[in-house]
């Protein structure tokens, strides 16, 4: 409770948290407020926003409801962002812990693999992966996780390296615990907080990567995504700019929200550090 209060002390954190809360509400409310297929044709094509109050944000080139698409797009963005971040953190934490705890050859091999992934720009990796396997939501999540797990792996390894020399780890060894059990039950939980601090950055990056992939036509075509909406709006940018601007604003706000919340989190932990 006190941690939450500390977190909410900074104005950035409040702004970030409220944007994220709004996004979550949008994503959860999407199927309730706009049941049915958001890509269904709802009215005349290219209706500008604020003309018809049953279609408040207007319609796109096929006459689909932009507001419904925006809500369902929030759903997709958030789902992809969270799933990709969770997957990246999981892979990263496991690889980092194994490398840090085992040391020696295993450490060398795992870290060189991590290096190899880090030398390739993450977005290119995701792009290549999706174009080979074919675009669908699961593939997009896997592609983003594939390009994002190296950061958590490095942080986890660094943490584990310091933790494994602690007395309680030596104690666990003495009582005959299996090394894997020590690694994942004793060491990893204590190494997690700094890794989790990366999560906000990863979620933001994942949402952006997903949008960029969809923009390039490599998103799941059967789902509404903000990137896909921007890409479709781009062909009519001069005549109906709102089709790109609306999802663009949503994207900017989301990433800003995730970033601010992350900053707030860092700040609150930093305050705790200086107090203790």
């Amino acid at each position: 409770m006190s941690r939450l209060r500390r977190f909410l002390r900074t104005p950035e954190a409040i702004a970030g948290a409220s944007i994220l809360a709004l996004l979550v509400v949008m994503a959860l409310a999407a199927p309730l407020l706009f049941p049915g297929d958001p890509q269904a044709i709802a009215g005349p094509a290219l209706l500008p926003p604020f003309q018809d109050w049953s279609l408040p944000l207007g319609t796109d080139r096929l006459g689909r409801d932009v507001l419904a698409e925006l809500f369902h797009g929030a759903h997709t963005s958030l789902a992809v962002g969270l799933a990709a971040a969770a997957a990246a953190l999981l892979i990263g934490a496991v690889v980092g812990t194994l490398a840090g705890f085992a040391g020696g050859l295993a450490d060398e091999v795992l870290m060189r693999i991590t290096d190899a992934f880090q030398t390739v720009p993450g977005f290119l990796l995701a792009l290549a992966f999706v174009s080979i396997v074919g675009p669908s939501l699961g593939v997009v999540v896997a592609a983003i996780a594939l390009s994002a797990w190296t950061g958590p792996a490095r942080v986890a390894r660094a943490e584990v390296l310091s933790i494994r020399e602690r007395d309680y780890v030596a104690g666990a060894r003495v009582i005959g615990m299996h090394p894997l059990e020590i690694a994942f039950r004793e060491v990893l939980p204590n190494a997690l907080p700094p890794v989790l601090a990366l999560s906000s950055v990863i979620v933001a990056a994942a949402i952006l990567t997903e949008a960029a992939l969809s923009f390039l036509g490599l998103g799941d075509p059967n789902r509404v995504t903000w990137g896909g909406m921007i890409a479709e709006g781009r062909t009519v940018l001069r005549t109906a700019p709102f089709l790109s601007i609306v999802p663009g604003i949503a994207l900017v706000l989301t990433v800003l929200g995730v970033y601010l919340a992350g900053e707030g989190l860092v700040e609150s932990t930093a305050t705790r550090g200086s107090l203790s």
Binding site: A40, I41, P221, N222, R234, V236
Partner: protein
């Protein structure tokens, strides 16, 4: 020129735009063309092989038709709809076994060597027949080309070949390349494929990948005083939205092949100094087609195919996706074709209730979730409109309880998935009608075509009656009888729906007012532009 400057309202008012445009009077301007100047225009793709004799496609013609000429070009008012180019006349024998071409005198290749009948014989026998994507079908029975003198070429066929077909094939299939450059080595690897040498009004000068193609004036061209332009520069602008701004900024003077998105035309037609032209593509009609995989048991049922046809609102497609710059289709021959089209075919009005009834009748009842069955839908990625129609079709099918899942691929993967692997249930394709059903239309429904031939029947459709009709038409020499057979063909295709024709569209050019002699033939964008000029 103002009579061809259109407004969107004017366009929408004419319901059959494509028909209307062919009926417009041909251009006859009193203005004298001015010599000199450089025409800069937008190019949205960069074909690597520029040899139109091998790759007969509009992307290649767009650039190389100015360099390499054909025997004849399409024309609005010429005899048989043709205008002489390298050939002055063509005469089919009564038995259909030969066609005699009289060739133009005093024509020189860009490297100074004379053009003779030997070049025509070489191009026809060594390239069009064995290598060209379209020539393989049309010239399959070509056995020899006799050259009694330097200006006569006699095409000999083993089986009677309709002279109507050969005539209709001339504008797109008869690009003549120099024998002296191609006779050594493998034709496919010849360096002239990337830097073509021809007899045309412009010479190939240079190509900078990702930047531009540059063509320069051929001073020794056979046309009197032609060409008028000094240079043509194709500025590579792969991004469609940038073509409109480049026109407004006067960086380019012309954007052909709908390089300016349809949604921008209304706005751009109001910009002073720019004109929107819908003429000049009558010979290049694209057809929006739903390709069907008949291996799926649901789709093998004609009732299901009819239901899909009834579920598609063609007027919506034309008005919303093509913004009125298209016409609804009734069958495999487009409405604007002057020789073969017939409206007397079964039609499928937009009727969701009827589509639902047909599906029920076929035995595919809605399950509890309202869905009858699921399909994989592959929209071709070549045009914005084919992709958008894919999105629309998914919704139209959902309304009748068919759950379509869209699978997006890039061009190469799409061609492989549909035409080689047959990994589709429905696909959206844009085949081209090339003036004669035998060139590239009958192949869409004919059976027995090997796997992997792009833009052919790869849906496993087999109809012996239709196959027999196609063979009979290909052997019928009498023009009227042949035309009637193709009318019968249209009826049968529309009745049995091996594929569903939804709409027909052509392209739009946007040009600055200073560009003269635009759109003066039905294949203008892919013709030689010898008479195109720039007012200063």
């Amino acid at each position: 020129m103002s009579e061809f400057t259109i407004s969107r309202r004017g366009l929408l008012a004419g319901s059959a735009l494509l028909l209307a445009s062919t009926a417009l009077p041909t251009i006859g301007f009193a203005q004298t063309p001015k010599k000199g100047g450089r025409l800069v225009l937008a190019a949205d793709s960069e074909p690597r092989n520029l040899n139109p004799a091998i790759v007969a496609s509009n992307g290649v013609f767009f650039i190389s038709s100015k360099i390499v000429e054909t025997l004849a070009e399409a024309s609005f008012d010429g005899k048989d709809g043709l205008e002489p180019r390298l050939a002055l006349s063509w005469e089919g024998a009564a038995d259909g076994l030969s066609v005699t071409f009289k060739l133009r005198d005093g024509v020189k290749w860009h490297d100074g060597k004379p053009f003779t009948s030997a070049d025509v014989a070489f191009s026809a026998l060594q390239i069009w027949k064995p290598l060209q994507n379209l020539g393989r079908t049309v010239f399959k029975d070509l056995e020899a080309v006799d050259t009694p003198d330097e200006h006569t070429a006699i095409f000999k066929f083993v089986k009677p070949t309709p002279s109507q077909l050969i005539r209709n094939a001339l504008p797109a299939l008869s690009s003549v390349v120099p024998q002296h450059l191609y006779e050594l080595g493998k034709i496919e690897d010849n360096p002239a494929n990337n830097a073509p040498v021809g007899t045309g009004p412009f010479k190939f000068a240079e190509y900078k990948a990702g930047q531009y193609y540059r063509l320069t004036r051929n001073g020794a061209y056979w046309g009197k005083d032609e060409p008028y332009l000094d240079e043509i520069v194709y500025q590579v602008l792969p991004d469609r939205t940038s073509a409109a701004s480049a026109l407004e900024a006067e960086e380019i003077q012309l954007a052909a092949f709908s390089a300016v998105p349809l949604a921008d035309l209304d706005r751009i037609s109001k910009v002073p100094g720019l004109k929107v032209i819908t003429k000049g593509y009558e010979g290049l009609t694209y057809q929006l087609v739903v390709e069907i995989n008949h291996r799926r048991k649901e789709l093998a049922d004609v009732k299901v195919r009819q239901a899909i046809a009834h579920a598609i609102d063609k007027d919506f497609v034309v008005k919303t996706i093509f913004l009125g710059y298209a016409a609804t289709a009734t069958g495999p021959v487009p409405k604007n074709d002057p020789q073969f089209y017939t409206a007397d075919v079964p039609t499928y009005a937009f009727d969701v209730a009827k589509a639902n009834a047909l599906l029920d009748e076929a035995g595919y009842k809605r399950a509890d979730d309202g869905k009858r069955f699921a399909l994989k839908l592959l929209p071709a990625p070549y045009f914005n409109e084919t992709k958008q129609f894919g999105d629309y079709l998914r919704q139209a099918l959902a309304a009748v309880g068919i759950d379509a899942e869209i699978v997006n691929n890039d061009s190469a993967a799409h061609i492989k998935a549909v035409y080689t692997d047959h990994a589709f249930d429905l696909a959206v394709g844009p085949p081209v009608f090339r003036g004669d059903p035998a060139i590239s239309t009958t192949i869409l429904v004919q059976s027995g075509i090997p796997d992997g031939v792009p833009f052919s029947n790869q849906g496993g459709y087999k109809n012996a009656e239709l196959d027999a009709l196609i063979v009979k038409a290909s052997e019928t020499l009498d023009t009227a009888a042949r035309t009637d057979l193709y009318k019968e063909f249209q009826k049968k295709v529309a009745a049995d729906l091996p594929l569903i024709n939804v709409a027909e569209w052509s392209f739009i050019s946007v040009a600055r007012d200073t560009v003269g002699n635009i759109a003066n033939n039905p294949r203008w964008a892919v013709s030689n532009w010898a008479d195109t000029y720039l007012e200063s």
